[in-house]
Amino acid sequence: MKKILSIYIASCCALTGVAQDRGNLLIKNGTVLTVTQGTLTETDVLVKDGKIAQIAKNISAPQGTKIIDAKGLFVMPGIIDPHSHIAIDGINEMTSPVTAEVAEGDVINPLQMSIYRALAGGVTAVHAMHGSANAIGGQCETLKLRYGTFDNDAMKMEGAPRTIKFALGENPTRVHGGGSQIVPRTRMGVEFVIRKSFSDAQKYMNDWDAYNKNKLTKGFHGQPPVYNLRMETLAEILKGNIIIHCHSYRADEIFMLMKVCKDFGIKRLVFQHANEGFKVAPEIASFGAMASVFSDWWAYKFEVYYSTAYNAAILTRNGVITSVNSDDAEMMRHLYHEAGKTQKYGGLSDEEALSLITINPAKQLGIDSRTGSLEKGKDADIAIFKNHPLSIYGVPQYTIVDGIVRFDREHDPADMRLLVDPKQNLDDIIPSEKGIDRCMDGTEFLFGLSSEMNTAEKETQLDKK
């Protein structure tokens, strides 16, 4: 299937010409922040066919190779946002507490302006996630920000492992218990829903295994089990083929999910948000789970009051692979600032801080062999900054995906829309994408809210109730 898919993608690309472009490039004389192999001054990076071919001093490139003079500039791996909701049409299938079968990969929208804005912040890849309305939400998709293509498949980071969104706590209980009056209403209910789903998936797998085995016997006339895409997906989690990324805040529920995963033999687990992760950092580390956190964002609901800006540092010092994420199209544009905050709160080194937005999210998405650091053979996903990226004066100058310059501050046209709505009302289109939390999109009507409202308006309305 994967093979067929990649052939299909390749054939599309050959035809469209834009998608899946791979570039050649020579970046000269920059300060190269490799993240994994130290900092190299006055060093060149040679890119061939979208891959890093060489990192050394005084590289000469074949004639005609595009050259970026990075003298005085900082060259770092492209930033990876491990928690984002951009570039997709549809975030929450909130009609059921378990919707493992739905996939963000089906609804990629490469035309969203937020993609270009993210590039302008040095971001080259995002984890486009299902929202947190369901205990087991949909499958997520790791995207490369190849802005400029209309081809939805061309946005996918080909070969990236499958991931899925889980959610604990207030969101799933509010939507299903509060909104639809069904299980789960409580944190206990969330655990029950997850355990039951895994148990059902085990039974489902056994039924199919038995059927497939019996089918081979002569004269077998049995009926096949009902095919269930939800169970198929859950079974893939049990088999270790899908990484769980779980929306979570409280230490007790983080601990709970680790127990559940242990009971079902699931090892690949990343906690998203994990505001109380610092309380169970050793436990997370010993499980081998990872954490993706905000630098200093909290108190937007009850379960997020017990938080600290030292979270990332404490997790890191306890040996947890930790990343900093945005969950937000606006914050995504300055993730390098977010990473920098861990130096103020926790005194992380430059390399540790940069790891939070490069190699660590790459590990959490299972793409660290391909991206997340500047090393020979890796994808040429690169951000070039004026001033050090962790400095408050750091400004992205170029953002490169697969060796193609997708953002160039010197050549940044005013109107980068790929498709202009012919019916747009010009009075309405100025700032159209508010930097809002879209994690609960599609659930508004449950709370008497309108999907047209921004977050502040929604919160005001909720407070009134």
Partner: protein, 563 residues
């Protein structure tokens, strides 16, 4: 054949002979059988097919078929003769997707919300692939006559609904009963990538997941049914499931899936499903195909492009205001740049057909979302954007006939083809051309030549209008009051849903077009609604569009108490 003859009850009967085109037809009672089913259109300019023209030729129509086409065809003695001295004759047009003649099921009000929104009854979420559009056909629906009056004689029609509304049929735009209309039943399985608000599947991703699951389960149950058939005593009897059974002919590659495929991302998502499941595909009402021409071409999907084009930008008053200004502000410049891109964008939609043609993709057109009154003008816009008249005619006749597998019976004026003809007083694509007669299946229809509305008649928009709107939440009624003061308009709107009266914003009346917007307030949540209405003396008709969602129809009349 004789049975066929007597079954026919044309709406209009003609005198035995006509001497001039456009002569008023004598009307007889509907129940009276036609005197004859033989017609001769003599001495007309016959465009048999794109690029094939006979000057001063004759077409003979007999018992629903074209029996002769030539310069010197002998006119049978029993033929009703239409002297076509100044007429142009074309093969009847074919529409690739619409709801023409299809009755929209009445929305049940106050339906109880299912207890578990994740597991709703199938019919609540459009999961009704077993439905047959024939059950919803009505030849007297005004949409049939409206589309026919433009020269369309055949439509591929589908039931209303979302997700999997049912099976399509290819119908003739004439006849007296639903069965009369049907040319091909079970033409395709119709689907839209559109879920149901608040119920599973709600989002597009869930619709796609459910689609895959249904298809795979259908494959499994189909295999099991054949296994059972081979030895009925050895296995458990398979369960009946009309939903899954509807997929069987699709799995057998005998029935194509017809998707409404308007937006560029929607089309690609449909391709994703097709590539996963490998069914025969028709994409219709394509509006944004040009950015992915190669993907469409390599998909091999049969393609119908939408006849619904975005409105051209009218010169706005603000522009003249701006030109008066001596220096333009940054805001003015930005607005100009945005207007320029919007105009270019409209051009892309209009030239889509040309681009498809250039890429070598054979396509037809579909009327699904196009307003009937705009279709002729839109065809002219498509031609102005670079598709030749012959290519446009092909997209209306020969191409769709081929795509629907009916080119042995439809698409050209040749012996033996179904007598679907369009007779115009000038070449069809001429702006002043009028369709005078249409033959559908050998039955003659005169297009009513209504007294033309005088465009210069002054439209009065101000006053009080009683309106009703068909919203997804049911019918809403209320009053729209429009006031005019020194050439600028203002007003209010009330509605029965929240019993509130709201001020209107951006009220404008341009010729007979009334537009405004207002904020709808429901229990603290607010929604911006744009209204676009056409005024016709004492009635208004048009749509309202709440921000970000689909528009709904609105009708109204002038309040008799209002001046």
């Amino acid at each position: 054949m004789i049975r066929f003859f007597y079954r026919r009850k044309p709406l209009r009967m003609a005198m035995l002979f006509f001497f001039l085109p456009g002569i008023i037809f004598a009307q007889t009672e509907k129940s009276v059988a036609p005197v004859g089913r033989t017609y001769a259109i003599s001495n007309a300019t016959i465009i048999q097919a794109p690029g094939r023209k006979i000057e001063k030729g004759t077409v003979i129509v007999k018992d629903g078929l074209i029996t002769a086409v030539s310069a010197g065809a002998t006119i049978p003695p029993d033929a009703v003769v239409i002297k076509g001295d100044s007429l142009f004759v074309y093969a009847g047009f074919i529409d690739g997707l619409s709801h023409t003649g299809v009755t929209k099921p009445k929305e049940e009000k106050d339906k109880e919300k299912p207890k578990d929104p994740g597991n709703p009854p199938a019919d609540r979420v459009g999961l009704t692939p077993q439905n047959d559009v024939r059950d919803f056909l009505n030849p007297n629906d005004k949409s049939v006559e409206e589309l026919r009056n433009l020269g369309f004689t055949v439509s591929q029609v589908v039931p209303y609904g979302n997700f999997l509304p049912g099976r399509a049929a290819i119908v003739l735009l004439g006849g007296n009963s639903p069965d009369d209309m049907v040319l091909v039943s079970d033409a395709a399985l119709y689907s839209e990538l559109r879920g149901t608000m608040g119920l599973y599947p709600n989002t597009v991703m869930a619709v796609m997941a459910k689609w895959r699951e249904l298809y795979r389960n259908a494959s499994l149950s189909k295999s099991y049914q054949s296994l059972y058939a081979s030895n009925k005593s050895a296995s458990a009897r398979p369960a009946n499931d009309r939903v899954l059974e509807a997929f069987y002919p699709v799995i057998d590659q005998k029935l194509p899936v017809l998707f409404k495929s308007e937006q560029v991302m929607e089309t690609q998502r449909i391709f994703t499903l097709k590539n996963d499941l490998n069914f025969q595909l028709i994409i219709a009402n394509v509006k944004e195909g040009w950015p992915i021409l190669n993907k469409i071409k390599s998909s091999g999907a049969k393609t119908f492009l939408s006849l619904d084009l975005p409105d051209e930008v009218k010169k706005e008053n603000t522009k003249t205001d701006q030109s008066k200004k001596e220096t333009k502000t940054a805001f003015d410049l930005e607005r100009e740049a945005l207007e320029k891109r919007q105009k270019e964008s409209i051009g892309l939609y209009t030239s889509q057909a040309k681009e498809f043609n250039k890429a070598g993709i054979v396509f037809g057109f579909s009327a699904l979302s196009a307003k009937t009154k705009d279709i002729s003008a839109n065809l002219r816009r498509i031609i102005a954007a670079g598709l030749t008249e012959d290519e446009t005619l092909a997209a209306l006749t020969t191409n769709p006939a081929k795509l629907l597998g009916l080119d042995d019976r439809l698409g050209t004026i040749d012996n033996g083809k179904i007598a679907n003809l369009v007779l115009t007083d000038k070449p069809y694509f001429n702006e002043k051309a009028k369709v005078k007669y249409v033959f559908v299946d050998g039955t003659l229809y005169e297009t009513e030549t209504k007294a033309e509305k005088k465009p210069d008649a002054k439209v009065v928009g101000q006053g009080t209008w009683n309106y009703s709107a068909e919203t997804p939440d049911g019918t809403v009624t209320g009053k729209i009051i429009i006031k005019e003061e020194k050439g600028s308009y203002s007003g209010t709107i009330s509605n029965s849903m929240n019993n509130k009266t709201t001020e209107l914003k951006n009220v404008s009346i341009d010729k007979n077009k009334l537009t405004f917007s207002f904020v709808y307030d429901d229990n603290g949540s607010s929604l911006n609604v744009d209204a676009s209405l056409t005024i016709d003396k004492n009635s208004i008709e048009g749509t309202m569009t709440p921000g970000g969602t689909e528009s709904f129809p609105v009708k109204g009349t002038r309040d008799p108490k209002s001046k």
